[in-house]
Symmetry: C2
Amino acid sequence: IAMELDGERAVVRPLLTDLYQATMALGYWRAGQACEAAEFELFFRQCPFGGSFALAAGLRDCMCFLRSFRLQDADVQFLASVLPPDTDPGFFEHLRALDCSGVTVRALPEGSLAFPGVPLLQVSGPLLLVQLLETPLLCLVSYASLVATNAARLRLIAGPDKRLLEMGLRRAQGPDGGFTASVYSYLGGFNSSSNTLAGQLRGVPVAGTLAHSFVTSFSGSEVPPDPMLAPASSEGPAVDLTASVNLWLKRVCSYLGLEVQEPHPGERAAFVAYALAFPRAFQGLLDSYSVRRSGLPNFLSVALALGELGYRAVGVRLDSGDLLQQAQEIRGIFRAVGAQFQVPWLESVPIAVSNNIDEKELTRLSQKGSEVNVIGIGTSVVTCPKQPSMGCVYKLVSVGGRPRMKLTEDPEKQTLPGSKAAFRFLGSDGSFLLDLLQLAEEPPPKAGQELRVWPRGAREPCTVKPAQVEPLLRLCLQQGQLCEPLPTLDESRTFAQQSLSRLNPAHKQLQNPTVYPVALSEKLRALVDSLSAGGPL
Amino acid sequence: IAMELDGERAVVRPLLTDLYQATMALGYWRAGQACEAAEFELFFRQCPFGGSFALAAGLRDCMCFLRSFRLQDADVQFLASVLPPDTDPGFFEHLRALDCSGVTVRALPEGSLAFPGVPLLQVSGPLLLVQLLETPLLCLVSYASLVATNAARLRLIAGPDKRLLEMGLRRAQGPDGGFTASVYSYLGGFNSSSNTLAGQLRGVPVAGTLAHSFVTSFSGSEVPPDPMLAPASSEGPAVDLTASVNLWLKRVCSYLGLEVQEPHPGERAAFVAYALAFPRAFQGLLDSYSVRRSGLPNFLSVALALGELGYRAVGVRLDSGDLLQQAQEIRGIFRAVGAQFQVPWLESVPIAVSNNIDEKELTRLSQKGSEVNVIGIGTSVVTCPKQPSMGCVYKLVSVGGRPRMKLTEDPEKQTLPGSKAAFRFLGSDGSFLLDLLQLAEEPPPKAGQELRVWPRGAREPCTVKPAQVEPLLRLCLQQGQLCEPLPTLDESRTFAQQSLSRLNPAHKQLQNPTVYPVALSEKLRALVDSLSAGGPL
């Protein structure tokens, strides 16, 4: 268990936190409260993007952070430089000795469906320490969950068959934003990422071929040091690919009604160079000059020359213009050219598209009859433009075993007090009916038993009888020790898709979905009422 | 120079790149083009947020990345695992030997005003290598520049006197997104950040006091181990702060017409605990229960008790409700209470506010007569919701000394070919008139000389006579060596504010600003025309 968490990234240091965590730490320490047993819950108040679900993600990163949490001398010295000069040195000794050996975490497993108010993490331990953990935990969970949820929505739009490629590294909030986006958009349902580091460190399938710069870097006057290519079967002589392509160019141009001078020679040289490097994975980027008059005939010439040697091109990519319509036209040309030259595989060469694809454009590209096969999405998966932040919060729910509640005059910002358990009620078909929050000390609800609960936002209780009951929160870290191996990214990805398949379609609608009910037990509801009325804290 | 760049962050590894950079690398290598001299430009096509300027930022991070760029064995092995199994081992040897000793970078200095099409970076070196650098450089520059620009806009709205605190770490795209946001929102004009790591590693002033959890963690039954506080002057006996606060509570409640039981005892205990830890920097967070009936009288009691000992409270914070109106009311109460108890400093205690403050709310809070002094902004500075990505691109402009251009049928995506120089024309008052792009080989324009130029987007040339001419791009890295010490963050921050002060207000308007002109020299314009018409590449 130790091994699998090590070495993944070195970003998250204990000082990656808000200064007020440190000033509060001193306040707790001075008040003799530093070691009081406390519990915080990390949750969100509203599902992102106007939807009705979210995917919980980031747990692995949290575990990695907690297990290595330790203030270094330089960290403590920096804090001393920004805290009052007469601060008791005992406080800094206390900070130096901190680690997570007294911290226990329960959590929604990575990839779980999460709903408002249900804790993604419950963190308990000494008050000073678990307070200090707030900002890094929020930072690790919020964006991971946001981008996983965003990816899941895009997957719902695209349907199961389109291949979705995340390619937003350059549009992210710096290096780690890009890394997090790549990992968690895969978890949320994408097929692959362009981000090589996400492949290296987390096993995300990586994909990529060539950019316009590659194409435009060639003028056509270059002479490849070795233009010879052996057949795929290795049987038979190697051929001069450039020469073979030039022969095919004449046939293709003649069939398409183009002059052989029209297709750009530099683009063709680039395609040949790429084909020599990747004969089994040749892809053409068609729109550096003109798709119809240059990119397409050049691609076809190279693909057909490769085909003679037994290699099949793996795709074309479009990065500008009307992607849906061009895909249609290109598929038509592939069919016609494939028939003309008796190359049947040509008609099913995958067509990949990219260029600022958002939910709306993805809907169009995923419509029935679309000839698009692969969709590269950057900005709109990574930046989550509909809602660029998840709004997770981390709230104190108990101190010294006594429930705590933030009352405030803004009812939206009130918290649910007390250490809690959470359960999911399922119908007889395994679909999700409702999530229940209750006090930790209450007996768990039982399948087949009727229960009166208070749905959040409702003024009246209702009665539910679940066919099955699943506990939602798993013990992950107990007194600093990992309790079980963390699931792999692929396991979490599968779990997320399975969970989504059990959610009623009404909750999965992307616009105006039916709200998924989260309810409080009668006891929890009574505690909220009592504390709201100013009862004893 | 070496020292100052080291150890800042370990995030940016060479594999933090798109896979297609590696596949293209193999393509270049196979085509014998790997070591061709190439030049790329990094620029944006449109100013973010509908504005008319951007601030260039991220250069220091780029230099740090370039100087340490080196593929490790594990990196090369990973690439080998995703490239064709029969790839020539010579390619991987080539990768292992790569470093930036052949790379030269010219750039807009950190904090410069940047406009569409003017390169933020010009990167030249061996084609394969400078292609590989694309994604990490984009990743490092785009978001840094976006958030610096966003911060500059927020500063323009707030005016020079409000203190702006960035506090968005928990809303960022993971750890490094938060770090980048903290550093570059400071560069763009914020006063401080909550992010302790940005203070430790980059010297950003850090700020923070206490959260609701600190307040709600106290019930009021706690007994501080040592409630005694000595006077600020250290002359005279220590007093029991709790007892003194309780005496003041009676006087304050009586004056405000409240029962002494109304203010929450836990909140008061929290304030006392904080005051004991920070007697010289006491701040009250007022809205955990009720501002008027609890937070305010509790704050006043503690502030007045501290005042008797010679300490002055440094502020209050509001985090919900109508912030402008509450600030008005609180200032009124401070005045009245200050007069009543003859504590004149009370009326000028700074009022800090936070809670999802965006451009619109900031405009309201910054209006004339506002009593708000400090404004904490998280989500809307960090996530840049108006435009969460800068859209920078990195385009090939020359290979082997010959200009390159992406033509494409989408005119917006066409590039400006050739190695270029850039100049800013200034009026006699030092204000910025126009930026000029010309070919590197052209003689620099001279002050006082009339010149015919082609403003981008215009169909006709125009004539300009600058009073002064400033070259825009500085040589930063020459054959892998830093050419001069990089400016400090504070120097860049000052430079950004100075630059903004020289920009005509018409270009600084946040809605519908006048577009700042960027023009091409006649020679550059002629080259574009010639290449667009299919002239020799």
